[in-house]
Each structure stands twice: as C-alpha cells, then as structure tokens.
C-alpha cells in the first residue's frame, strides 16, 4: 500500500494538535504542515505577556520549529497555500508547487479584522496576532509611553492589563460593535468599561473613529466623534476573521468559516476543517457554531485528526460556553476564563 500523505494547513494550536495526533495514530503516514507563519506553533494568548517582557520568547512556543523534524513531521514554514482542489486532492502553493494529499485538515485560524472604515488607516495601527507583531510592539513601546486601543476584543483587554502593569498610559476607545465575535450588551459594556477604569485606563465610551494622522513628532492623532486623542501607538483589536479567502474557488461551503458537520468533515472525502476557521454544525442546536480560544482549538484539532484516520468523534462544545452572536453560536472557553 502506498504511503499516505496527510497535509495540515495552518500551524496554530488546532493545526499543531492535528498534526501531532496524526503522527501518533498513523505512524506510517507522511505528515506535512504548511504554515504561512515562520517558526513553530506558539500560544497566541501568551503574546501580551511576551510583549511586556514577562515571558521569554521560547516560552511562547508549544513546539519549537526544530522539534517537528524529531517527530517526523515535515513543517513547511513561511509558505502559503493559494488554492485547494479537494476533488483532485491537490493544493497549490504560492511558489507554484503542487502537492497531492490523501487527507487534508484546514486549520488556518483567523487574521485580525479591521473594520472597513478604518482600513485606510491600516499603516498607523498595530495588531497583535503573530510573534512578529509582538516584536514590532516591543520595539515601538520602547519609544513611547502612550497607547490608544481601539476595538475591544479579548486580546485587547488582556493586553491592556499587561501594558498598565508595566506603567504605560493606556486610553481605550471602547466600541459596542467592536467586541467581535461577542457583541456587547449594555450590561457587559458597563462591566468592561468599569473594569478598565478601575485599572487606570481612560475609556472613550461609544467613540467612533473619524480620522487618524501621523504628526511630525511621531505621535498619532486620532479624531473621534467627540474629541482628539494623541498617542504614541494605536492598536486595532476587532477580533479575528477566518483566513479563508484562498478557498473561494475550492468548492468547499463557506459562510463565516468553512462549514463542516459535527465530525468536522468538510464535504469532500478526506477533507476536514478545524479550529477558528471552522463553522461546526451542532445537531442539537440545529445550527452552526464557531470557536475561539486556545483550549477549544486544541480539542478541535485532535478531533479532526482522529476522524481523518477513520474514527467517529463528535466535536462537543461545552454548552455553558456557547454564546449567540448575531445569529452565530460562539464557543469561547477563553472568555469564561477571562
């Protein structure tokens, strides 16, 4: 029998766990991870502590880049998939290399979501999704003590706490439609604003950003509905959106994420989606749910891998953690921990 080739796209917590599970349960198979990010799998929720110097870089990583070789997993780091052809069982990389697979797990996660009206200011705002993003923050924080946070997702709250801890002056433009994928209701909004103020953060309530400009002294001036605010750095934190534009012509069903059944199967033989980029059907809810948070990603990654090699494991979210967000059921263990 020819050697099987399992490909995992993405090396976040879900993709990494999927690859490790495949390695463990299918020792004869060839396992390849293709990741646009460089280096090994890191824990994104540790990034705020890394930025402020409470965590060493090596402690960010679940698996170091070199450890994959020892595990018999081929990690193609810094390489990008540009199209997937599940019917032909082939994927194409940016550098025009065609790779055949017997099984595919798509675990590309998300990328920072910037609202359309703010995209024009993209160059003036920093995000915090990757280790490289974190290094940019580290470098630039050495040059300023003032930070304006725009948005309000989970990362921004965690990050703000760390920035205040190390003596940075943080101003927060808290916005009720910014807390993606969770939307604030009045109660939640007040809770968050109050907590931020208690921690010494200036909160600009219900402020919408109208303009942004770089001043000659290197400061960034931000115009809101009510006032002008100056800061050395501006962070944009509007949550993540599934990074699946490359799947547009794949034939996979896509809504907010890749639509999969409760076994994370994506509708083509041997093709699964998992982690933040999957939108999972729940037979009891008779609806789809999406997942955020490290622990959920790991669990889903393992589930996808087990199903790929022939088991029948259902993706089971903790019902207590399911939130309804604009009609989408969201599972967020991290939020509960936060």
């Amino acid at each position: 029998m020819a050697e099987q080739h399992f490909v995992v796209i993405g090396n976040g917590p879900a993709g990494n766990e999927a690859a490790l599970t495949l390695r463990e349960h299918a020792p004869e198979a060839r396992v390849t991870i293709i990741s646009r990010e460089r280096g090994g799998c890191f824990r994104p929720h540790f990034l705020p502590r890394f930025v402020v110097g409470k965590l060493a870089e090596e402690d960010l990583y679940l698996s170091s880049a070199v450890s994959y070789r020892d595990k018999g997993i081929k990690l193609r780091s810094g390489q990008e998939v540009v199209s997937v052809h599940p019917d032909k069982r082939k994927i194409i990389l940016d550098h025009k290399e065609i790779i055949s697979f017997d099984g595919l797990i798509i675990a590309v996660g998300g990328r920072p979501r910037i609202p359309e009206n703010l995209m024009v200011f993209g160059d003036l705002m920093l995000t915090l999704k990757t280790v490289q993003d974190a290094k940019v923050w580290i470098r630039k924080l050495n040059e300023t003590d003032t930070v304006l946070m725009i948005g309000g997702d989970l990362t921004s709250l965690s990050f703000t706490k760390q920035l205040v801890d190390v003596g940075k002056k943080v101003c927060f433009a808290l916005n009720d439609d910014a807390f993606w994928p969770l939307r604030f209701d009045r109660y939640l909004y007040n809770q968050v604003a109050g907590r931020l103020r208690e921690n010494g953060v200036e909160v600009l309530e219900y402020s919408r950003i109208r303009g942004m400009s770089l001043l000659s002294d290197g400061m960034i001036e931000v115009n809101t509905d009510y006032e002008k605010v100056r800061a050395g750095l501006v962070g944009a934190f509007f949550g993540l959106k599934p990074d699946i534009a490359f799947l547009a012509r794949s034939g996979l069903k896509i809504d907010r994420g890749i639509l999969v059944d409760e076994y994370l199967h994506a509708g083509f033989e041997g093709v699964y989606a998992t982690g933040d980029c999957a939108q999972v059907f729940h037979p009891d809810l008779r609806d789809y749910w999406v997942s955020i948070g490290h622990d959920n990603a790991v669990a889903l990654g393992r589930t996808a891998a087990l199903n790929l090699i022939g088991e029948r494991v259902r993706a089971e979210p903790d019902m207590a953690c399911i939130f309804d967000v604009q009609g989408v059921q969201v599972n967020s263990s991290w939020w509960m921990e936060f």
Binding site: G39, R76, Q79
Partner: protein, 587 residues
C-alpha cells in the same frame, strides 16, 4: 551588536549567470566597505551544464577562510540548490524564484526542502527580468537587487559593479542589466516592507575605496608583471589557465609576450631558455603538467639555470579532480625529479602573498640560479579577496643576478665553488665569459666529469647554495601567546586561514594553543620551527592531502610523533573541523 560576518551563496546551473552574479556581488560588497573572501566552484566538465556555486564571505574584520555555514542562499536553479541546504545555517535566508515557467511537482521547489527556521523569500526573478528587459536571463541581476533590498545594501555599490562589468558591452546591455537589478530591488522594497526590519541589516561600512578585488591567479599575474616578466610560456590546465589568460592581455602591453606551447615540457623549456639568455620568464601549471616538467626542473638545478614555476595544485593523483582543491603536490614540488635536485619552494597563504611571493621569486631564481616553485592550490588560485592594493617593492623586483667580476675575464669558471655556493653567472655571449652548460655532472668549468670526488663536491655546493637562500626566504610566523602551549598547529598554503581562525577561536576560549605559518616550504627554517615546536606538548598538521606531506617533511624537527589532520574532500579546509580536532586533542 556583533560584528558583521555573513556568507552568501549563489547557486545555479551553468548558463544561469551564477558566476557573473557572484563577481558582481563581490564587487559591490567590496565597494560598500566590507572585507570579502569569495570562492566559486563549477563543474569539471566544461560543457555548459552542471552546478555552479559562488560563496562570498563578507564582514568587518579580515576574512581568512570560508565559513562552514551559509547565511543567505540565492537559488537560480532549485534542483541544483537543493544540494546546498545541508550547508545552510538553521536560520538562513533563502531567495528563490517563486514563479517558475511551469507548475512544479512536490519536492521540485527548494522551498520543499527548507528547515522550519529558515526564511524563504519567493521572488519572481524571471518574470521581473522579462518585464523590464524582455528576457528572463537577467534574473541573476534581479536576484542581486532583491538581496540588496532585503539586507539594506547600498544600491549604488551594485550599480557601480554592474557598470564596470557591462559598460564595455554597450549601453543597451548595461541598461538592461541595471533595470533588472532595480526591478528586483524595488519589488522587495514594496513586497516585503513589513519583513525588512526583521532581518539583520548589513548596510555599508566605512572602508570604501581602499581595497582592490583580486583572485589568487590575478595576484600571481600582477606580481609577475610588476617583477618585470618578459616571457610567459604555458599550456592550459585548470586551475592555472587564468594566469595565462590574464597575461595574454596584459603582458604585450608591457612589451612582453605570451606563448602557448605544445605541452608543459616545451613550456618549462621556454622558461629555461629565457632565463639562460637573461630574461625573466615564467610558466604556470598544475599537478599533471608539473609531473611532465620535472626532468627539466632537475636539469635547471644541475645546470643552475633560474626558473619560476607556479604549481597550482588540484585534486590528484594524475588528472584527478580538476576543479577541486588539494595540497598533495608538496612532495613533488620539493623532491620531484631525478637525483638530488634541491630547489626553492614557496607557498603563499592568501591572495596578497600570491602577489608578493611571485614577484620575489624572480630575484630569488636569479640570485640562486635555481627553479623557484610557487606552490598554490585551486582554492587559493580562484578565491577572491579585497586586499590593500599590492605595492611594487624594490627588494622584490630587483635584479637578482650575480655577475662575474671583470677580473675574471678570460679565466671565468661558470660553476665556481664559492663559499655560498653561488657561482657568478654571465649572460651567454659575453666576451671573455664564455661557458659551457650541461645536464651532465660537470666541473667548475662546465666540463662533464663523473668522478666521485667531483660529484660529491658539486652536489654539496648546489645544496649549500639552496640552504643559504634561507636568509632571503620568508620566516615562519607565529600566532601564539608566550610560554608553553598544549598544542601548536603548523600550517601552510590555503589551509592557513582556516587553521588560524580555528586557533584564534580556541584561544578565545582560553585554550593554550598557538599556530605557526610556514611559507618557505623548501628550504625551511629549522631553528625557528623547532623552537616553536619545543614550546608545545603536541604538534598538529592540518593538510589537504592524505599523508600529511608537510608533516613528513618537517615533522622530524619535533621530539615525538606529530599529529595529523588530513582531508582529501576536494573542498577547502574547514575552520570548524580543525577547531573540533584542537579541542579533542587538548581536552
């Protein structure tokens, strides 16, 4: 911030412009103020295919050897470049063409073989070149532009190098190459602007303009020209051929001539004839050609005719490994040929010494009326260094001939047994100083004489003369702290740079080790060498030959068996390999 020390490789198939790109890179890095040491390797078969690799080590301090690991690889042909991956650092940056003409299967792109911590940069070399120049063949220039942008190297340094190379080919060719460079540069500035700050910046240094890029072969040629070379006789052979090519262009401008002979025997014959008539001449060859020359070299020792011969060693024996390096001709250079035919053998260790030792060899040959062999090797001949421009030193180029005293008119004895063994030599045809010359053993007057007493006397005279040359030959140089050492590393030729780097690394870690460089292979400075050896518990000879040929020659000067580290890989000696051996011995 640590000092810059980076190794850049370009790898492609013959015809990709790999070697040309490497030359431009060296020129630009030199102009940007870096110290540069570079070495190209290419296939032995000259048929327009095969792997070409250029390796350039650049940094702020003097570069003495190639590094073991490469920091940046430019792949102009992924199939060929895959072989270079084992030589890359874990965090190497790899530039490759991400828009090949056709889609490729799994594993055919170099990206498929990179280790996870490496940094691939996919850049459409061919497409960019075709866009701006109408042809993909300018992709080597596009790649250089990409490199300059990614590492913040000054574009004007590259422009200067491109102009120097392509201006003579016309404005259209120059313009196309500049456009290709600029296209790669701009593409990377635009596409990777968020990654540019994440890789180490090389920038430029402040030594611009002081230095000149020269290969070992070019330095040998220049040294010969500056020494007043009049005639060059040669027969093409790798790796010595570039000397003849260089001189064919330059020597006629100085009134001299280059003659390609029918073989190496004719070449050495031409050299002997020239010197016999009082004109400086030279030949350059490699092991197989040197073997053919040995009878006439021995003839020159007995007939006491000056000669300058460059033996550019390559992998042997016989035809061996024509495009690989080795130091296995030492025995042949010192002892090759029939009879007791002592001669002078000098071994430069870097490009600068290639110039000075060649220049000096003419005067030595004249003074001591003997063949002088300049012993180089493929790595030294072909490597490029940017060195301080060599200066024409009077002591190197002065006429070394010792002419007879006018009082000897009519009573001249050509092979007079003097105290030094040097017999004043007249130029043939000088009235009152006519003499006979023969390859047979002869009397002081030059008449054949096979008597025991005469042979003893004349053999001893010729050897006394060569021993006496030591006063004019380069002394060994020590690189060690005072006091006793756990280990002394004795080294010669192109291996010296790697050995010194290894020794300095060990010294930096507190090990009591030292190095000695031997440039005068024969005769050798016994007293200085023995004095160094006696300070050491052990002596190590790293050599690119199987037996340890220098160790065989001078190892007896030590009071116990010397240690050897012999490599015959065809590759230059690795500093790391020597370092590991040093640690193993000392610890």
């Amino acid at each position: 911030m640590s000092a810059v020390d980076v190794t850049i490789e370009i790898c492609g198939m013959s015809g990709d412009g790999t070697i040309a790109a490497g030359g431009l890179l060296n020129g630009a890095l030199s102009a940007a103020g870096f110290s540069v040491l570079a070495f190209d390797s290419y296939p032995a078969e000259i048929r327009g295919f095969g792997r070409c690799v250029t390796r350039t080590r650049a940094g702020e301090s003097e570069m003495m050897a190639l590094a073991d690991k490469t920091s940046i690889l430019i792949s102009l042909d992924d199939e060929q470049s895959r072989s270079r991956i084992p030589f890359l650092r874990d965090d190497a940056v790899v530039l490759f063409d991400n828009r090949p003409v056709v889609y490729v299967g799994e594993g055919q792109s170099i990206a498929a073989h990179l280790e996870p911590k490496m940094n691939p940069f996919g850049i459409p070399f061919g497409d960019l070149a075709a866009e701006v120049s109408g042809a993909r063949r300018g992709r080597n220039l596009t790649a250089l532009g990409a490199l300059a942008a990614l590492f913040g190297l000054p574009g004007n340094a590259f422009h200067g190098a491109v102009k120097r190379k392509f201006q003579p080919k016309g404005e259209r060719v120059l313009d196309a190459n500049l456009k290709c460079f600029d296209a790669g540069y701009q593409y990377c500035r635009d596409t990777f602007k968020d990654r540019l700050e994440r890789i180490s910046r090389l920038g430029s240094r402040d030594k611009t303009g002081e230095r000149e890029l020269l290969s070992g072969n070019a330095a040998i040629s220049l040294g010969a020209l500056d020494a007043g070379l009049r005639l060059y006789f040669g027969y093409p052979i790798t790796p010595a051929t570039p000397i003849m090519e260089y001189l064919a262009k330059e020597l006629p401008k100085k009134g001299g001539a280059v003659m390609q002979m029918e073989d190496e025997i004719a070449s050495i014959g031409g050299v002997l004839g020239s010197f016999y008539a009082g004109k400086r001449a030279m030949t350059a060859t490699s092991g197989p050609g040197f073997a053919l020359m040995t009878e006439l070299i021995a003839h020159a020792t007995v007939a006491e005719i000056p000669a300058v011969i460059v033996d550019a060693q390559r992998g042997g024996p016989a035809t061996g490994l024509p495009t690989k390096t080795e130091q296995s001709d030492l025995h042949a250079a010192v002892f090759g040929g029939p009879g007791d035919s002592a001669r002078i053998v000098l071994a430069p260790t870097n490009v600068s010494e290639c110039y000075y030792y060649t220049a000096r060899s003419f005067g030595l040959a004249e003074k001591y009326q003997t063949p002088v062999i300049v012993l180089t090797d493929f790595f030294l001949d072909n490597r490029v260094e940017n060195i301080l421009p060599p200066k024409n030193r009077p002591e190197d180029i002065e006429n070394g001939n010792v002419y007879p005293d006018p009082s000897k008119h009519g009573v001249y004895r050509r092979f007079e047994d003097t105290k030094t063994g040097i017999s004043p030599r007249s130029i043939p045809g000088t009235e009152g100083f006519i003499f006979r010359t023969t390859g047979l053993e002869h009397t002081e007057e030059g008449f054949p004489d096979y008597s025991s007493a005469n042979h003893m006397k004349m053999t001893e005279k010729r050897h006394r003369k060569i021993e006496g040359a030591l006063t004019d030959l380069p002394e060994p140089v020590e690189f060690s702290p005072e006091g006793n050492l756990d280990l002394g590393v004795v080294t010669w030729g192109s291996t010296f740079g790697a050995a010194l780097e290894a020794v300095q690394r060990a010294q930096g870690e507190g090990l009591k080790v030292g190095a000695m460089k031997i440039s005068s292979i024969y005769p050798y400075h016994s007293d200085s060498i023995r004095s160094f050896m006696m300070r050491c518990n052990d002596i190590l000879f790293p050599e690119l030959n199987y037996e340890g040929q220098l160790a065989n020659l001078i190892g007896h000067l030590f009071n116990k068996e010397v240690l050897r580290f012999n490599r015959v890989t065809g590759l230059p000696m690795s500093a790391t390999d020597i370092y590991v051996r040093i640690r193993a011995i000392v610890e």
